[in-house]
Amino acid sequence: MSKIRVLVGTKKGAFILTSDGKRKSWKVNGPHFAGWEIYHVKGSPADPNRIYASQTSGWFGQIIQRSDDGGNTWNTPGSNPEELKSPEGFPKGESNKFVYVGKAGTHKWYDGTQHPWEFKRVWHIEPSLSDPDTAYAGVEDAAIFKTSNGGRTWQELPGLRGTKGHLWQPGAGGMAVHTILLDPKNPKRIYVAISAGGCFRTDDGGKTWKPITRGLKSPYELPDPDAEVGHCVHRIALHPSRPDVLFMQKHWDVLRTDNAGEQWREVSGDLPSDFGFPIDVHAHEPETIFVVPIKSDSEHYPPDGKLRVYRSQTGGNEWEPLTKGLPQKDCYVNVLRDAMAVDSLEPCGVYFGTTGGQVYASANGGNSWDPIVRDLPAVYSVEVQVLR
């Protein structure tokens, strides 16, 4: 029988939740890296035992951790005794070195002036679909880095910041590449999203990028209807069978594109709020998507104190609330952008974590939910692995 491993990043450490394929009984392992903020933990699709974690701290900066045994043991890449036996050895301490290429330059600051680019942390790690040693890192201040040696060293793909980066301006949550989607049918194509920066696509493996924001509307902040950058994209998602179709939760509105971002259209439909963070796609139904509506950008909690996942089985516009097993009164948690994931079992499992420390799971495509752990630190990210 398949096993499930849920990788949870929280404000105070990483946790690994495991279950068999029934997804009823769960073991909680952790905290790993206790006391550190864990922005993201994600396993390699090519080798599920290879897991990358972004460990960060306001005091001590950025650390990249890697496990090669499914999360039982961890090393900073390049410091594993086995790796150091290689003929060239390896200079340790390089795995947390994220340095912008060339002169870092400047981006737009809150007062409209230009501000130097400053690396702060890694928000998201996206392992390659085919090579466990290759991964991409989305960082704050917004940029994308790549490793081809298992995280020992990272190099920026500077073309992204070259795409009108001087016009990007941080929002209240910072300015980070928080979403990286790899096209499973075209290894040269990558999508990224940046809050208050926009959405971008490369078709040449990261050398050059183009804004893909036509159809996004942000009338007050961006009165120019043709503004290519500056849109506050909270999350994008795709189904691997149909990578030209993307879904987006924006600061306002849920949208979709059917042509790889060349044109977007709003599909918020009858959602109770058009604000939220995560969005994800059902593993077996490319037109079934999930969002968690949040009441406005200043309150950041569910409307009416009811925690509801909304599901559309029509690719947007028509939405149904999923409430069974979720708190329907006095609930004022948030669900952050990287804190929702789906598994590929049948029926599809859906998972999300809250800033209140709960991780909820549905083993039936969202029809009903159970908390699989209740009292973790605030959840930053949730990823799922199916182990066959």
């Binding site: 001590f60 200079p91 070195k97």
Partner: protein
Amino acid sequence: MIRVVLPQHLRNLARVNGEVQIEVAGPVTLGAALDALEAHYPVLCGTIRDHDTLKRRPFIRFFACKEDLSLEPAATKLPEAIVNGEEPFLIVGAMAGG
């Protein structure tokens, strides 16, 4: 040999318990002590000082013989009691919570 006390999180990262002892070549300055520490424990590169600029991270503090050296230049000589190992050089995570 100088003695260095690291904050708990950095001890965990470097996989050491208690104080560490470091040989510092040449004059024992603040910068030389940090250079030697990072050379001996490369995993600490970037956690105390910026990789590129070598500026102290904002919420790190340096103390020697009850003196706060956090704002002193890298060329600052450490006190004799640090140099001869009588007193430890302290690297501290600042009180910056809320």
